[in-house]
Symmetry: C2
């Protein structure tokens, strides 16, 4: 097996156990690992490091960079207390709690930006890259597994590299990836992608074998995605979006096969994308960062011509299906570095239709994607900004209420802004759809409140907006009340006024 | 004169007076005009329209699109009440007041986005484009004057075109412009600019002569820019930035000639750019949206190799100098469509250093560029988002206080977000410079408060942050106090607590 998995013969002598490999990691190091939304993440060495620290009590903290979220390794590392700082994304409850307690310094980044920061040197040197792989080629090239993420730039910039060969990944993964890194400036050329299917690089991450200090064999599986099936609300949201697409096609603003689709991570986005399976649309293309189950359902329904992403993030059942049917998908898929899957240049050129999930939106269309009550990190911003800012059509989806109605997802004022109203074209809840393109803020407010708010909150929103408007302004607000709904939720567990009355009256 | 200015002989019969031309404009029309930051704007026909409406009392309102701000025409049109809606930018006090009273529906857009919205059709049809020109070529091509802005897409999409030939513009303007429009999707190619000096298009705006329904001769000058000279504070800010550039060069993160520079409109940005004249840096390149006086001062100091923008916005003195010395600048300048000068693809490829002005910043680095107290529009967001999001290095500058100290420009929480902390690398006030690249929010807050805040406000900011941190979170805040500084200013005219004490105690 070693010979097929390690085709560069020099490297066969560098096979280590995970425990031997973790000994290379010392306190204060910057360690950069493969992994994007729980897929293709380097697992064995970090888990062995966490075990060592828990066993010995050695004080050790690293700066941990990745593509996006790791699977359970983020939790294991956070529990062991070995993360000093973390970037550019996370979505793991244990780690999140450490971040919100101020124990882990987390820097939330646009996912297309991290490679540029690494390249510029302003995040400091990368001491060690740990990359999960299917195989190593004759020249030391690293063939990734279920994600590419930031691995190419990490390998290029790291002083040393450890490769984790996951022997449970099919050898047929080789050929799925397309590795291309923009050159350093000022000699950078245009990225020559004009269609999602364009291949512009190599099927492996180039790596000088001399940099590879160890090869570890691993059998640890990706943490499966836990997609919640579509419910009544998400189905309605999908229906609104399909009707809207139909409307745009009829008005000549979208072609019959739409435009390349991007869909954010999560159950709502997945359900919306699934909705296309029963639609009239065909020959669709995907240009996204993550392929969730829905992408393969659409392949099953023969709706998709091609899909490009930076990772698979699949349920256990769908991961098995994909692994068993790789031959079928081989010419229809590509996995790219996240710098390319999310690159403003390509997203803008292709005119991607971007569909992402909001935590909440305000009456003018500003979106909070990340911070509960404006303070507590939920999931990072991820690629939503890369897509929302540059897409041909930018859609945000959210259910109109949460926590059984105690939270309205349409609020007077979002207490944290990830996407400004400039970057939001269309908003969707199970109540309806609001096309706010070209609308001035006061018109936008009325459209958003009327079309998107839950009936329990609509009147209060209208009343806020009307009173605010009496004071004038381009985006009228009442500064003393703008954040009161969130404050009320913090104090009483309910945004609604009558709850406040019960508590205070 | 007609023959040189109108080289397409068919069009010589279509010369109209401004008053004849304005009669083509009817109530409810969408009119799209040339003009970018008070330069190269179509003046004669709109002013004649305003005069007619004021004379006759005819009810008439148009939807007015432009490149960016018009000169005094924005004020004249607003006073006459002929603007129903306005996009994508404004910075004119009379118009601004109409917007804040809710009389004009203003849609604030990223300046690179407007052309895409027009192309997609979602802003509706353009009934008439009015374009200021130096000349019309043999084939009907329109040679712009001091700006390009959105004129190429307006001419391409408008049903009819009126050309205002400004006979006071030197014929030598011809050849300064480089007109290139990205193709419609899905057949769009990469934009082939890899250096600021690259010319990729035609020196005129292609136009079918049959679309040109009138040619008006005009002598109206651009409204001159009113740049305030550098003062002690702006000089210090320039010094901090120059020291920072030095530091980056020493650490190998910038080359000796830096990277192409973008500088926002306004006195502070102009002063910062002027500061480079006395620096050791040479062979600089400019890739920006507006060339202000400082760019020509840098040419005078032989600091600049090439400058690319979408417009000149100059003082009267500097405009005269440029017009008198066009031969000298001919090979060193280009004016492009704003879609190209501000395009994410090019800005990111070149790794532009973006320097823009903030109204205020919060402790985590979010920037408000547009809305006073979160409600009242000052100037639009302009191109700051195009550059800030995609630049290689993003700097925002602001004086630490305003209104004689009654306003702190460093606040707990900005009441309007134009640029999220993800898009902000470095912040500068006259107090100091904060390099927040790679910092987690709590570290960012301490750096921002310590380095940037005015002494009168530093303690209060630290105290807010410390109390907020006791409640945990990734970006700690106190929801009941986050907007209190702004509220206090609205109520008392001073953000400082002791003023409040006087009023309430």
């Amino acid at each position: 097996m070693d010979e097929q998995r390690i085709r560069c013969s020099d490297l066969r002598a560098r096979v280590l156990s995970a425990d031997e490999a973790q000994a290379y990691i010392r306190d204060g190091m910057t360690v950069a690992v493969s992994g994007f939304t729980k897929s293709g993440d380097a697992k064995a060495v970090l888990q062995a490091l966490a075990a060592r620290v828990q066993r010995t009590g050695d004080p050790l903290k690293i700066n941990l960079l990745s593509g996006a979220s790791l699977g359970e390794t983020d939790a294991i590392a956070a529990k062991a207390g070995i993360i000093r700082s973390r970037a550019p994304y996370q979505s793991e409850p244990v780690l999140r709690n450490s971040i919100n307690r101020g124990e882990v310094k987390y820097t939330d980044q646009h996912l297309s930006h991290t490679a540029e920061y690494v390249r510029s040197g302003c995040l400091g040197e990368i001491d060690l890259a740990i990359i999960e792989a299917t195989a190593i080629t004759e020249t030391g090239g690293i063939v990734p597994t279920t994600s590419v993420g930031n691995s190419p730039i990490f390998v290029e910039r790291a002083k040393q590299v450890i490769v984790e060969i996951n022997v449970n990944t099919p050898a047929e993964y080789e050929g799925l990836h397309d590795i291309y890194l923009p050159a350093g400036r000022p000699n950078r050329a245009p990225i020559p992608i004009t269609r999602p299917a364009d291949r512009i690089g190599t099927p492996y991450i180039p790596c000088d074998p001399a940099k590879i200090i160890g090869v570890v064999f691993s059998t640890l599986a990706d943490t499966p995605s836990s997609i919640v099936p579509a419910d009544h609300d998400t189905q309605r949201m999908a229906e609104y979006i399909l009707e809207f697409f139909d409307h745009e096609v009829r008005h000549g603003r979208l072609p019959n096969h739409l435009a390349p689709l991007q869909s954010g991570v999560g159950s709502v986005s997945n359900a919306v994308l699934s909705g296309l399976a029963a639609s009239r649309f065909e020959n669709l293309e995907i240009y996204t960062e993550v392929m969730q189950d829905a992408v393969f359902e659409l392949f099953g329904a023969e709706k998709i011509a091609f899909a490009s992403a930076s990772s698979f993030t699949l349920s256990q059942r769908m991961a098995r299906h994909v692994n068993d049917n790789l031959a079928r998908y081989r010419d229809k898929l590509v996995l790219r570095p996240q710098e390319i899957s999310n690159h403003p240049e390509v997203v803008r050129r292709l005119g991607v239709i971007a569909m992402n999930t909001a935590l909440e939106v305000d009456i003018y269309g500003n979106v909070n994607s990340t911070h509960v009550n404006g303070t507590h990190m939920m999931n990072g911003i991820g690629g939503s900004g890369d897509f929302a800012r540059n897409a041909g059509l930018t859609i945000f989806v959210t259910k109109s209420i949460a926590k059984g109605g105690r939270i309205s997802s349409v609020v007077p004022f979002v207490p944290h802004v990830d996407h400004t109203e400039h970057d939001v074209d269309v908003l969707v809840t199970e109540q309806g759809i609001a096309d706010v393109r070209g609308l001035a803020p006061r018109d936008r407010a009325l459209t958003i409140i009327q079309n998107l708010a839950h009936p329990d909150y609509k009147e209060a929103l209208l009343e806020y907006f009307k009173r605010a408007s009496q004071h004038g302004g381009h985006t009228p607000h009442l500064l003393t009340e703008a954040l009161r709904w969130h404050q009320r939720y913090v104090e009483t567990g309910d945004m609604r006024v009558r709850q406040l009355a019960k508590v205070t009256g």
